[in-house]
Amino acid sequence: MNLPASFIAPLPETVLIVTGVLVMLIEAVLKPATSRKPLGWLAIAGTTIAGLISAYQLRLGTLTAFSGSIQVDAFSIFFHLLIGAVVVATLLGSLDYFDGHASHAGEYFALVLFGASGMMLMTCSVDLLMVFIGLEISSISTYILAGFRKGEGTAVEASIKYFLLGSFATAFFLYGIALAYGATGSTGIAAIAAGLGASATPRMAFLALAMMLVGLGFKVSAAPFHLWTPDVYQGAPAPVVGLMSTAPKAAAFAVLLRITFCGFPLMQQRWSMLLWGLAALSMTIGNLGALKQTDVKRMLAYSSIAHAGYLLAAFTAFPQAGISAACFYTAAYAAMNVGAFAVVTQVGGYKETLRSFEDYQGLAMRRPVLAALLAFFLLSLIGIPFTGGFFGKFYVFAAVLQAGHVWLAVIGLINSGVACFYYLRLLSSIYTRPGETASATTPAPAPAISVPAGIGLTLTAAATLLLGILPGHVLHLANSASSSLRATYAIAAPSASPGNSPPSLPSSDNSR
């Protein structure tokens, strides 16, 4: 069978889009009263197939398609699999979420699929035009998903805030692309790297990079650009927050890795300084902000800002170690955060009546299994050994120290200590017996966890545990992802600066 690469390379995205269209078509002929669950199963099947195709592509080596604007390599496949897994876990957790509340649940499954296709497209595009299109496909889908509980005031508010600030960020990202195009005469990431050496306007190129950093900083909710995060996470439906705090962020980080390490390797000294600042600021602001929160979703929002900071810290390390640490951290963070939000989904229900720390008091007595799972995910978010979060932090800070950024590591470790405080506060309230006032209004016996939600929770918990005790497999994948990204960089760099071979990094980088 000899299929053209233009067909095989974007096949996972194609499968997702076709499944999404199918879901919408079937939804149109279903009676309003019918359960939308079969559509959910269809979406899960489609995503699984897309993931399997991605895994198979790993054997085919590097594929390029659409006149070199898409490149499927170990790096993009790592993120494809990650996004696929996140989507499957989210869909499993939200199959029963809309039952009896929303007749438009079919659109939810379709939008999740479309969004996932955009995120996957982002990770495998090597042309900024494709990156932009993927970014917009994923963003526009998540804008709608954020406001999916149409009747709720907070949900619509979350949607509009996300939409306005997201589009604002997109404009910055686009302006950055325009300036990069002006400075180098191309929008291809490798061509930009080649053009940088010959560029007569390095200042404009750096401004371009800074603009793109602002745009992507919004998407990953890094510190000065994090203002939308708490409100959007509080108002959006819990399963959607689980998705959008992990998958689009993973995709944005993949783009950031590609742009910085492949597109602007010549300016590494300068952008690693910028990212140093962003990382330190994100960690500090995220953790300090989380301290005073009383709403669980808001607290997790601030914690996600802090985690974006830990991840950004990996960018300041040497390429090989830094990229693989960032990949591993993204995977670990995705597992534990999707898990935490799956628990929040189960506890809160569609109306999200139980949301504050007080509501979670005594959860261990009412729903022991959920409480134990949440406790496990919180411990992983702290970074306790035998969880994915521990190895994620370990690799990142090892890489940061290796590159000589001692102060950044110190700031990170102090922040991990601060983070303990608010995670443990929630943990202790879960395991505290509620006081008299609370027990007087104890709600009716909670519904049992449905089978698909149980599978989803088990999967995320197993992934978090596995990353904590047997990180070898994922680390191996992350390493090969890092190597394949650096291979692109190696092609790009020599033409830009002959005599500066990629392995010997600018040594002045660690003279901080």
Partner: protein, 107 residues
């Protein structure tokens, strides 16, 4: 390497105009309180980017920059469709378009 322009108006003028439009967009986004006006200011920023692309495409004597503009326009249209729908639904639930009054979630 530096391309020559066959135009009386130098490329820099277009770039400066675009930068000014972009800045006006940012300022309006931050200052204005009506959701629709804020949305218009985002459109202004996007069109400033389009102008930049066209100017650079002219400078480099390439078509790719102009093609990019088409993609930006299509995406902006899609974004407008979704954005206006969201604005409609916020007006339905809150009966206001003033961003200062859309504040159910203050910590």
């Amino acid at each position: 390497m530096v391309p020559t322009t066959y135009n009386l108006v130098p490329t820099a003028y277009y770039l400066i105009l675009a930068a000014m439009l972009f800045s006006i967009g940012i300022a309006a986004f931050l200052i204005k309180r009506n959701v629709i006006t804020i949305f218009i200011s985002i459109e202004l920023m996007l069109n400033a980017v389009n102008l930049t692309f066209v100017a650079f495409a002219h400078m480099w004597h390439q078509v790719s920059g102009q093609i990019f503009v088409f993609f930006v326009m299509v995406v902006a249209a899609a974004e407008a469709a979704v954005g206006l729908a969201i604005i409609l639904s916020i007006f339905r639930t809150r009966e206001t378009l003033n961003v200062d009054e859309i504040d159910l979630m203050k910590s």
